[in-house]
């Protein structure tokens, strides 16, 4: 930018508007994070559904890939922080929302794993057990291990929350749409068997993160190539 000796008032206002727009339309998120999580969660959910639907096992817990994905996410976060060059007012608040989301998901996983055993023990202390009773009397009653029914619906509900906040704050329509779809799928999942909830969760992850991530990535790359022209 060459320094002009005299600027008119309208030139000053035009310059202010131009610079504000330049700062506003800077895409510094590379989209890699949402693509990573959208892919990992959708694959894990879909594979869980397939195993339940077609009665086979891949020999390990597919959700382990979600834990493994934390490592590249940390590296991505460090790299993006180095590259940014700019910090917007909403960044800290959005980071806090996503950290809270991660803690809540972790809490829900703990709940899902602890509740069955804890319920058995609490029931045993009170001297009763949960039984499955067949109303057609063709099978004998059997003891059942307590479980949190249709818990994946709650995961879908949680997927929508940070996505909606990010969509509103960043005015990013793909995330707004993704969150909207996830809320609808959450309601649908309340009426479906748990194996289908997995399929709905997979679609939610694709809509909330994978598709917005790809859109973000394309915008980021377009901006980057425009800067090098």
């Amino acid at each position: 930018m060459e320094e002009k000796k005299v600027m008119t008032e309208s030139e000053s206002l035009a310059l202010i508007a131009d610079m504000i727009q330049r700062a506003k339309h800077t895409y510094y998120e590379t989209g890699v994070g949402p693509i990573l999580w959208g892919t990992v969660v959708s694959i894990a959910s879909c594979m869980t559904y397939l195993q339940k639907e077609y009665h086979f096992s891949i020999g390990f817990d597919i959700w382990i890939i979600v834990l493994i994905a934390i490592i590249p996410q940390i590296l991505i976060s460090i790299r993006e922080k180095r590259m940014h060059g700019v910090k917007k007012h909403e960044d800290d608040a959005l980071n806090a929302v996503w950290v809270t989301y991660a803690i809540s998901i972790f809490g829900l996983i703990i709940y899902q794993n602890i509740i069955p055993e804890a319920t058995v023990q609490l029931n045993a202390q009170e001297g009763w057990v949960m039984m499955r009773h067949y109303t057609n009397l063709q099978h004998p009653d059997e003891m059942i291990r307590p479980f949190a029914p249709s818990i994946y619906s709650l995961f879908i509900l949680l997927y929508a929350f940070p996505t909606l906040v990010t969509g509103i704050v960043k005015k990013f329509r793909p995330m707004l749409a993704g969150a909207g779809i996830a809320y609808v799928l959450f309601i649908v999942s309340c009426y479906t068997a748990s194996k289908y909830d997995m399929l709905l969760g997979s679609v939610s992850a694709i809509c909330c993160w994978l598709i917005p991530g790809i859109i973000l990535r394309r915008k980021y790359l377009a901006q980057k190539s425009a800067a090098h022209v």
């Binding site: 930018m1 060459e2 320094e3 002009k4 600027m7 008032e9 309208s10 000053s12 206002l13 310059l15 202010i16 131009d18 610079m19 504000i20 330049r22 700062a23 506003k24 800077t26 180095r82 940014h84 060059g85 700019v86 910090k87 917007k88 007012h89 960044d91 800290d92 800067a227």
Partner: protein, 97 residues
């Protein structure tokens, strides 16, 4: 009675820097240089003038063994920018009436 336009802000590059910083929490020198298409030398001089006026805070640190200069608008800077825009509007309204 027209308010006099702030001479610190009524300069193309300094105004561009302030307009960029008003919309973000903080930005580093490279980002500002890319967005304003200014030369590093000229930008350094103008950033220093804004700093001397108390309109921006400049933090210099080392990040991964490279020097990094981060700029952030101050409360004084926000007030001055606001007053400058209001004065501009006054001039433009007077011109159009």
């Amino acid at each position: 009675m027209f308010k006099e336009l702030d001479p610190i802000l009524h300069s193309q590059l300094r105004l561009a820097v302030m307009s960029l910083l008003i919309g973000v929490k903080e930005a580093d020198f490279t980002f500002i240089r890319e967005k304003t298409n200014a030369t590093a030398g000229n930008l350094s001089v103008q950033v220093q003038k804004l700093k001397d006026a108390g309109y921006i805070e400049v933090t210099k640190q080392f990040k991964d063994n490279y020097p990094q200069t981060t700029c952030k608008i101050t409360a004084t800077g926000i007030e001055a920018f606001d007053a400058y825009v209001k004065a501009l509007q006054q001039y433009l309204q007077a011109g159009s009436s």
